[in-house]
Amino acid sequence: MDLGLSIETRGFYAPRVQEIPPDIDAELARRIAAGDPEAEAPFCRRFAPRIRLFGLKRLRNDAAAADLVQDVLIVALQKLRAGAVREPERIASFMLGMARQMMLDSKRNSGRRERILNEFPIDLIPVEEPAAEEPDEARLQHCLQALPERERSVLVMTFYDDCPADALGTQLGLSTGNVRVIRHRGLQHLRDCLENAEVRDDS
């Protein structure tokens, strides 16, 4: 690929230039706006997992997050088809803004989803989540048991009900910073152990 740099600037002191991948999101948005229906499925596949994560974080509920994904994609496709998205190069920000707005709207009006579906029947392709790696049960058990006791305690109490560091610090008589340090170390040790186990399994 021609990065457009002159020969003189390719030496040791040349600025680091990273290959920037083409903005696939913006390209898909432009194609949908231009009336290309083939662009809709890949567009949904790219944004659905992002909206779902956002929904899980804000709503802490699988079903509600899945509903949010459908709602946002339906309205986004409708706006893109209508040419109502002015800056396709900022489509990620547009989608996030819409996810935030629709989450607030859904709290105000729970009937909105049904109304949207009735008004804008769009045949959404079921979206599969990217394959996230679920830790092997036996391996996780081994790695948790291998942790220093205090790190295990902090990780278990953090993960059990998503307990933030300040609340856990109060329970343990530790500072928030101290809990974060123990948690960081524990997570690092746990990930290292799980990764090493993966390497052993692969070899």
Partner: protein, 191 residues
């Protein structure tokens, strides 16, 4: 596992975002990033899965751990069925685990007010192996160490005796805070 080498947001940042620890501006920034960066999204998904697996492992009794009294109250409030034993230093108890119990929790009372480090020493069976967990979690204000043994292992035991010792440790010495004896037997529905 997705590498933790992303230039913008570390795994710790992502966890802090997930746990709601970030201020509004920082949380917004992470959220914006996650709408562009699928690598960070994948790492956050892994964290969420890991959290779920830890939670599931705890409730299946796959591992033991030290917790806090308030954590056990949260478990109880969430509907987890808990069999609890409260022991004073030098105390012993006849204990078991019933089929309907999700977890067993041991409350080991001790004077821990001025202690900086506590080690938990577990002697398995009569003349069996000894395991020492160093620097366990405790809150001096609660006057106890709260321990969840691995219930899956307890269910496999017949008659068994286990001794636990809490040791207060400082730079040059250690002293016994309390010794606790658990006389385990398999569950007998007749009591």
């Amino acid at each position: 596992m997705t590498p933790d080498n992303h230039a913008d947001h570390s795994t710790s940042d992502l966890l802090a975002y997930w746990l709601g620890e970030l201020d509004e501006a920082s949380a917004d920034s992470v959220e914006e990033h996650l709408f562009r960066c699928d690598a960070c999204g994948a790492r956050l998904r892994e964290l969420i899965l890991l959290g779920g697996a830890v939670r599931e492992g705890l409730l299946k009794g796959e591992f033991g751990t030290v917790v806090t009294p308030s954590f056990t109250r949260r478990l109880s409030a969430a509907g987890v069925r808990i069999r609890e034993y409260h022991l004073e230093p030098g105390g012993s108890v006849n204990c078991t685990v019933a089929p309907e119990d999700d977890l067993v929790i041991s409350h080991l009372r001790a004077e821990v007010g001025d202690v900086r480090q506590i080690d938990l020493v577990v002697d398995d069976g009569d003349g069996g192996s000894t395991h020492r967990s160093r620097h366990i979690a405790f809150n001096a204000g609660t006057g106890e160490v709260t321990f969840i043994p691995p219930v899956a292992l307890l269910r496999t035991l017949g008659k068994d005796r286990q001794r636990m010792r809490l040791m207060a440790v400082d730079k040059s010495s250690e002293r016994l805070l309390g010794e606790y004896t658990f006389n385990h037997s398999s569950y007998d529905p007749r009591g």
